[in-house]
Amino acid sequence: MSKILYVIDNNTKKDYNYKIEEDTIIYHFSINSGSNVLIDLDKEDISLYYYYNDINYDDNIFTIKVNHNKSNTHSELFNHGVNVKDNELSFKVEGSVLKNSAKCICNQDNQIINISDGKSTICPNLLIDNYDVDSSHSAYIGKFKDEDIFYLESRGIPEKVCYKLLLNGFLINSDSIEYDKIKDFVLEIEKI
């Protein structure tokens, strides 16, 4: 059974430091905020799942760094942002595996959807100093795919409602998220 944490930022800039010593899931929801997240995986055989979901209106930077300080540690980062206006949103994402940390899994998936013509950047970095590591990263910046909209529309769903469905699916990207803990964020999605 994993420890589950909910973090909600609303128009703030904060620093978070986590020393992880047990299996942990962190759901981090952000409304127009920037934050620096530093995570140390300090015990062998533990996993971290980090879901960052961001609705952005101004210029903001989200930075997250995961240090695999022990062997056989596992991190999965899912960073999703929606850049609503013509502004700048940046994700700086770093996974670091030390020389003595063997058999680690270090993955990251980063996506930003631009609703308008904002400028978005993703810097996905993997600093791996061990030969026995399973690691991957991905980054996507763009609009929702036309083919997705066409498919949904072809079943009678108007374009505006298609976007609502896609935004919900993109920003609440785990079945285990409890809606009553993120009410403000759910309401914010409706405003996009």
């Binding site: 036309d146 498919y151 072809s154 409602v161 919900n168 699916g169 990207n173």
Partner: protein, 254 residues
């Protein structure tokens, strides 16, 4: 039901037409098949009827029940009862099957969907198409096999109850048993709603062993070149498109 009159269409921002002077009339309750070599525009036709964003109609008209649908959005065409069962259904991560279908049913019917009724209807339909109940909560087509995707299309068809159905290569990616199940569900649907018209796009006559059409059309060189009965499909399977003289003997289907 559906009339395609002297249709010309092309991919947007290109010059050459894919279909030229293409005409076809499909009446209530009729089953038509379009066959043709690769790249002759069969799937394009299905997408143009549905209003796909990549294509532009440069001439002619498409009418549903006497009214042009060319100026209607994709969703409005679907609301009028057109359903395209896609050759390669799109995967949409994050949007669950149940959320998607409940939204679609609500939009098409124009009423709020009762959750209890929806779940009961879905469970029944999923059982009929032999889809596992757990797919209800999975992302739309994510991780589905080719067969499951096609069955999911049939499930949507059953739930949305269209009056004009296009099956774009339903038989591709389906094993024999799955094809039989899919076709049985379509036949049951046609029996329950006998006014429904069906347009089947296929390369092979195998599907026609399960769903019997009244008309088979050969699409070649941008328009229908020959129309016949089901025997034409089997003749093509035997002789190939080059073996059958498709440029002669047009028969009107009206």
């Amino acid at each position: 039901m559906l009339e395609i009159k002297n249709l010309y269409c092309k991919v947007k921002e290109t010059e050459d037409n894919i279909l030229e002077d293409f005409s076809l009339t499909i009446k209530k309750g009729e089953i038509h098949v379009i066959m043709g070599p690769n790249g002759t525009g069969k799937s394009t036709l299905s997408k143009v009827i549905m209003g796909h964003y990549k294509y532009e109609v440069t001439g002619g008209d498409i009418l549903l029940d006497g009214e042009s649908i060319l100026n209607l959005s994709v969703s409005k065409r679907a609301k009028k009862g057109i359903f395209l069962c896609m050759q390669d259904p799109t995967v949409i991560e994050g949007v669950s099957n149940s959320e998607f279908l409940r939204t679609a049913i609500g939009e098409v019917s124009g009423t709020k969907v009762n959750l209890y009724t929806f779940i009961k209807d879905m469970e029944k339909a999923m059982d009929e198409v032999k889809l596992n109940n757990n797919m209800l909560h999975r992302s739309l087509n994510l991780g589905f096999s080719g067969g499951e995707k096609k069955k999911n299309e049939i499930l949507q068809l059953k739930m949305l109850k269209p009056k004009f159905i296009i099956l774009d290569e339903l038989d591709s990616g389906l094993d024999v048993d799955s094809l039989r199940i899919a076709c049985k569900n379509i036949n049951d649907y046609l029996e329950e709603y006998p006014d429904t018209a069906l347009l089947i796009i296929t390369h092979y006559p195998r599907i026609l062993e399960y769903i019997r059409p009244q008309y088979v059309h050969i699409l070649k060189e941008k328009k229908i070149q020959k129309t016949g009965g089901i025997e034409l499909a089997f003749e093509i399977e035997k002789e190939g498109y080059n073996g059958v003289n498709v440029m002669m003997g047009n028969e009107e289907n009206e």
